[in-house]
Symmetry: C2
């Protein structure tokens, strides 16, 4: 193992209980830690950030609808009054299954139980040019980057004579017709229709294109036909250009090449076309399934490792009716986490564990400021009522009363005023020399 400091991680609290180390504070890791509050375990929750990110609303950060802080929740605050859970910010590099250790740059941590909940990151399918030049949407930091890029491009469009360049600065191409692509395309189209022309009266917005490119033949492939066709209709009515069977091949920063289509000029290519599970050193080849997902049994136990668990997007839990595993969505992650918390408590009492059973509660996506599509197990509906449902469900899912209040006010304000005030280009202009070096080293 390349990276293995020989000193222990500092300042870990003492505990008479067995230690569960959770890697990742996404929907799975955070839910598990919350469900283990007060249990007879010492829980160490490790994430590379000091906050949990509410991924379903990244597109609103990207389109200036919400502040990053509204959908990011400081982990330490969640566990203020619960001393059996400790939060550590660290980038986990590797695990050692035999020594039962997790390796971070700050030292190693011994575990009795290890939970891998590192989630998934953007999959560029080996397209190196696109990886370097497109913008992903898998973190609040990336969503904020996209927002800044869009605003900077509009300011640049004001300052250029070159008409081709101006169009490229105004256009946006979004790849991937899943929920992220659909919601982002809808929000961008509304910016184009209602907000940007007021900000930039000198620009001709009839020239601006919002293009959604989907490799398959329908939008929201994981949802019902009704949802898919309504999302298509709604996006069309907002002015989004949707292309199907669109296999994006290359991007040089100005021109997107799509097989079977003419080239598209844009300085903003958003890549929401696929994910792959985050990798970690120290796993055996036969513990990995197709695409690098970790093979787990019905108790989310990693193959050949009874004290290691994997949850959510990172794991592959095949069942008789789902031989290729469950969809990589928040619901599965949270339900698996709840079940594991129950089992960990049962094991500590020498009780039999319960196998995971997925209960599909349905799914939904929003298109613009008053339309959405909702698939419930026994009911599908679309339109304004679906949008209200979407609003309510997401508001309830947001952590903390303060965040609920602020997001609700933000939404209400945006809805009533047709405007938001967040079109600020606060760029990381001010960075000290040392951090600059670190950023360059961080670069893959």
């Amino acid at each position: 193992m390349e990276f293995s400091p020989s000193f222990p991680f500092p300042n870990l609290p003492e505990s008479p209980h067995k230690r569960i180390v959770i890697l990742g504070a996404g929907f799975a890791g955070l839910k598990l830690a919350q469900k283990l509050i007060g249990a007879d375990y010492q829980v160490i929750l490790i994430d590379k950030n000091n906050y949990h990110q509410f991924q379903p609303l990244f597109y609103q950060v990207a389109t200036s609808g919400l502040e990053p802080s509204a959908i990011s929740f400081p982990l330490r605050k969640i566990f203020h009054h619960h001393r059996n859970v400790s939060v550590r910010m660290a980038e986990v590099k590797a695990i050692d299954q035999y020594a039962q250790k997790v390796y971070t740059p700050s030292g190693f941590i011994h575990y009795d139980y290890l939970v891998l909940a590192l989630g998934a990151d953007t999959n560029y399918f080996g397209l190196q040019q696109i990886k370097e030049r497109s913008i992903p949407m898998k973190s609040v930091s990336e969503a904020l980057y996209l927002r800044n890029r869009i605003i900077a491009n509009y300011e640049k469009a004001m300052n250029t004579f070159d008409e081709t360049e101006r169009k490229a600065l105004m256009n946006i191409v979004i790849v991937g017709g899943g929920p992220t692509g659909v919601e982002l395309a809808g929000a961008m189209a509304e910016l184009k229709n209602m907000i940007l022309p007021k900000d930039y009266p000198e620009l001709d917005f009839s020239q601006m294109q919002v293009i959604l490119a989907e490799a398959g033949t329908s939008l929201l492939a994981g949802m019902s036909n009704e949802a898919s066709t309504h999302a298509f209709k709604y996006l069309k009515s907002l002015g989004v250009e949707i292309i199907f069977n669109a296999s994006v091949k290359d991007y040089d920063g100005d021109t997107v090449r799509v097989e079977g289509y003419p080239d598209f000029n844009t300085k903003t290519l958003v890549w929401a076309a696929g994910i792959k599970p985050n990798a970690i050193e120290g796993l055996q080849p036969d513990q990995l399934g197709p695409g690098g997902r970790l093979i787990v049994n019905e108790y989310n136990q990693l193959k050949d490792a009874l004290n290691i668990f994997a949850l959510g997007d990172q794991c592959l839990q095949a069942s008789s009716d789902r031989p290729r595993g469950y969809p990589q969505v928040a619901q599965v992650a949270m339900q698996q986490a709840s079940n594991l918390a129950t089992n960990l408590r049962r094991w500590s009492l020498d009780k039999e564990p319960k196998p995971f059973k997925y209960k599909d509660l349905g799914s939904m996506a929003t298109v613009g400021r008053k339309l959405a599509v909702v698939d419930l197990p026994f009911l599908k509906f679309q339109g304004f009522l679906a949008w209200l449902t979407w609003l309510f469900v997401h508001l309830m899912a947001i952590l903390g009363v303060r965040n609920k209040v602020f997001i609700f006010l933000n939404w209400a304000w945006a809805y009533l005023s047709f405007d938001v005030s967040l079109r600020l280009l606060i760029r990381p202009k001010y960075v000290k020399e040392q951090e600059r070096k670190e950023m360059i080293e961080d670069k893959e």
Copy 2:
């Protein structure tokens, strides 16, 4: 002149009126543009950012009390419905007084009247080491940087065995006993007393020092003795260590050297000890006064240039009772801008201009979450009532109903809950190669 593109700035609107170009959208430049709404002038407002920054609350951004967006106002939105004012985001490099042109990287702009309102930046008094390693507080981006540095340092403090390093990570030294230094020290002390120990239960906060170093012999030198002594008392009661006659000599990133004092260990040195006016190429040596301030007459006309004006921190307007000019504060900037707007309207009607008369409305500073000091022309008071006054005055000064509502709710929440949720380390981790290069080039 090194920088002088020979092409005109693109996309400027046509107008039958004379053109006023305002450089800088701080308190002076923004107020002037607002006062010229609807006047028979074409106004071009240029700033390097696309937003106005509300400097009095930077310290709250730095201490996780407010989001950057709460005190940053998109310029374009302010002038949505006022077509005689155009906003352009550009960095102005130079002016040519004889050709009546302003030079930006996007082209030159011809002016009939030019207003220099570029404000002031941090003055390091030639201390190169301190310039490279300390953190200034003259922009919302810098305040956000300070916030991120403080949070990152606490996360690092959790992950180190080295006690000296841990103390250096926890300590903060603030240089400058003006309003910025006092308000920041108060807010940091409250973080220490009320918030951080909950976030980091494993750290010993009795070891954390908040040090305020002032080169003179009193705090808030521009205010009354009562204000100064009360600010001292309030900060002391919060646990701030205040040192006077403290001339900071050097800083290597770990140790601050102060003449006549023992060394201080800190990874966070905040420099709020002085300002200097922002410079621009194309001025004559005899147009510059002491410290680089632009010499103007009682109509804010630049010396030897009847169609150029300078406002606010950038100008030096001597009067019989103030031979060294007015203090460099927001009030002076805004009153000068109002007077200039009046005069520009009067000149267009061939009326006599009015000389500037400063009306000192008083000044105030806050110390912590319920104390402040207020100096009004005929009344000085301190304590909780002063804090309510401070709150009200600042809330009224904030632009926009939405921002007022959100900031008020934020403050109310923080006051009632003793906590804020903004301790998020959302760093510019995600930066593309090109921007990285630009950032390095931006470095002076």
